[in-house]
Symmetry: C2
């Protein structure tokens, strides 16, 4: 029982800081996604192509989490408006306080969209609210068609799911029907975009449109709650 | 400080049960590996091919851990001597007590080798001793060449590393030199076998030879410690 109580307390403290982050983002009218996926699902490659597409008309900041190295931040530094790396020192997920520290390193006045690239892990990050406007869960074709069934919480709690590396479909045994059947058995209204982050950006029109919609919503909500 | 103390206590309790598991395996002269890798790295596919190769002369049991579904156990049921599935109910790794329960479902008298397929996660399982004779860490080509650098603890603590899905090398940007350089920068004597679990079993001679060596060692140690 001690363990359960400790876990509850940790989550409660995390939620309090997540609420602070959410309020700060709302005041700055910034949309924010928490991007989650396995190691090597292609989160950083997705962001590279996404930033190339969006930077003409949106200011995008990135907080990238890793247990070691600053390689993701280095890859993204020339593309994003503002990037900060958080090394969790072995921890398997980002928490709200780490994101709060990351936000303190960014110039929130200039941003339209904040993308949090979580630690490569399809399990632990899902339980931690970071203050985001939307959670995005990423699967990839080489991981196999059984991943929605094995990770139902990702399907249930994410506002959008991505299936990356669809260019590899011809080279890999991947049963697309099983993938879709499991996905919709877990959640009938699951929203999925299939894309390829490295091959010319197949699927990126839909993905960028979804992100622009999130930005528009954050602006509208910010205006609605602004002092008269 | 409370958190750190709790984590230490949890690990201490885990280590005590791991020692019980290790003793039981030693008494039965069973070699045991803890196989760890990301979701979709190919752990179950590896076991399918491995079991096909070994079952003529070795009795192999499998404990397979997952946060949901029994799919891996179903895939392996016809190939292994004995299979038991542990659903962790959301938890991100197997612990020694879950393995102890799994071992209670197996007939240890008949086994030469026990393979524990850990939950798909490249981070959390590495910290938990299960009582295994050896830890095996699996990377795969589609995950990218940066995974050793990002997961140094896997490199440092595993007795053997596998690089799976090498058949996909022509279709994927994967810098093999960087992968090897990082691997050996972290650990000069890192032992690596490159293989393909789905394409005819490239690399499986070396992998099966390594497993047979582990089995021979367990037999020898068991004989040495047997009562006269």
């Amino acid at each position: 029982m001690v363990d359960i109580k400790v876990v509850k307390n940790v989550l409660k403290l995390n939620d309090e800081v997540a609420a602070i982050n959410r309020q700060a983002l709302r005041e700055h009218r910034i949309a924010c996604i928490d991007l989650m996926g396995s190691p090597g699902a292609g989160k950083t490659a997705l962001l590279e192509t996404t930033l190339d597409r969006l930077r003409e008309d949106l200011n995008v900041g990135v907080i990238t989490g890793d247990i070691a190295t600053t390689r993701d931040a280095e890859r993204l530094a020339h593309r994003a408006c503002d990037v900060t790396q958080i090394n969790t020192g072995g921890s398997c997920h980002l928490d709200a306080n780490q994101v709060r520290q990351g936000m303190a390193n960014l110039n929130l006045d200039t941003l339209d969209l904040l993308i949090i690239e979580n630690v490569g892990n399809l399990i632990c990050p899902i339980g931690f609210d970071l203050g985001q406007s939307a959670k995005v869960g990423m699967f990839s074709v080489p991981e196999g068609e059984d991943k929605p069934a094995k990770h139902p919480r990702v399907v249930l709690e994410c506002d959008l799911l991505l299936l990356n590396k669809i260019d590899l479909m011809p080279h890999i045994p991947f049963d697309h029907d099983v993938f879709m059947r499991d996905l919709h058995a877990i959640r009938g209204d699951a929203r999925l975009i299939e894309l390829s982050a490295v091959r010319g950006g197949t699927g990126f029109d839909a993905w960028c449109e979804w992100l622009r919609g999130l930005v528009a919503q954050a602006k509208a909500e910010g205006l609605a709650s602004a002092p008269a």
